[in-house]
Amino acid sequence: MPHVPRDVVALPEGRGRWVALNVFARTCLGVSPEVIALLEAIEAGEPAPAGPFRVWDIQRFSNEDGLLADPSRFVRDPGLWPEAEELDAEAALARLRKHLMLVDDEDAYRARFAPKESLLDFEHVGNFHQQLGQHLLLVTRDKPGPWWLAQKFSDDLRSIRPGAYDFVQRAFLDRYLPERIERGADVLDLGCGIGFYANAMAALGANVLGVDPNPAYLETAAGAATAGARFEVMDVGRPGGLDALPDASFDLIFMTDALLFYFVPVDPASAPDADVLVADIRRLLRPGGAFVSLEPHPAFFQLPWLGDVDRPFTISTEYLNRRFSITGSLGETIAPFLRGGFALRRFEEIAAQPGYGVDDERGFRFASEFPLWQLMELTKD
């Protein structure tokens, strides 16, 4: 029997418009009150009320605007909505089915919430990485590698773009690193990427080695290297990947935006091993040394962003069992370190940093309520 999945919510947009969302499928459709009445009639087993039924095609893949841009998948500003389509009842029901606001078979509907089996699998909802990859490759035709870099860095890769990487992560590290990095300290940056923060730590007087499995990233890093920073290709997280580095050779080991892939890998068939990583860190740290981790917080990728700008809220659909999102839970993230003989010495949930100029008020307010990153400092027991 056709019915409205209990995953559907409708939010007022004013002026006779509602935003209907399937919060698990992350599908959206603008609808008039007549469409809401149509759904009510379906639920009650009553004949369709009189139309016409107006719908607005407002669904979009928001990450086109940036990895950390508003991830809500509908056109935010009703002034920018496309023209309403006036549909008869049959066409309206077809549109509601397409957007998963109406389903005929609950089991078949539930079966769609599984990982995608291939790039061309549009049937299964998949996780964030799969959705983003499919969108970049098949719709916008972007190469994922350069696209990822462009989300965080300016075109010349020398600075952080405006946005949450800037007003949360960089703003925090601008304060934290000068406090934490001692001149002359030996620092290892694990998964350093293009070396932005490795160079920042070297500029503070540390001797920094940045390692990463991606040679192209390290070529960029070396091209911009600050005195005191050097870079080597190493297969971080793989058995033997860091064997070239001597025992007890670092005072501080730094890792950012890389640990999450140990818990929610892009490719589950080749997940890096957190226990291998922890054993390497333990071996490489000097007595009294610390591992500093700055990683996306479990609240990092909450969508949709709802509410008035000054009263943000979201609808969480998962925490412990990540089917869509891309970070481990707090417990999962900390567990391999506790198991590997580390103690958690400091923990901070990093929200938007006050005083930083922003041109994205909704994003700033959202990141002021829901922390985007977490800082952990761990030392050997």
Binding site: S118, L119, L120, L138, R141
Partner: protein, 86 residues
């Protein structure tokens, strides 16, 4: 099926591996993706090459269609898009 479009599609796909079949009908029905002629990244490259060759653009809906998984379906889609001037 336009002879030119069909011939070029067979050439472009054939450069990636053998399209098996004794008769044209069999070769048109070859499930090139499911049977491993191209992998995911190879598929993207194939799509870009076909778009460039024929001056068209496939939309996500075109690529979602089950037909698109066969050689003949790709040819039909190209011909439809060319007829629409897309």
């Amino acid at each position: 099926m336009s002879v030119d479009v069909g011939r070029r599609v067979f050439e472009i796909m054939g450069a990636r591996g053998e399209i098996p079949g004794e008769h044209e009908q069999e070769r048109l029905g070859y499930w090139y993706l499911d049977q491993g002629l191209v992998d995911s990244m190879g598929f993207v490259e194939l799509v870009l090459e076909l778009e460039s060759e024929f001056g068209i653009r496939f939309e996500a809906d075109d690529m979602q269609a089950e037909d698109f998984r066969t050689v003949g379906g790709v040819i039909d889609t190209i011909e439809r898009l060319r007829a629409q001037g897309v």
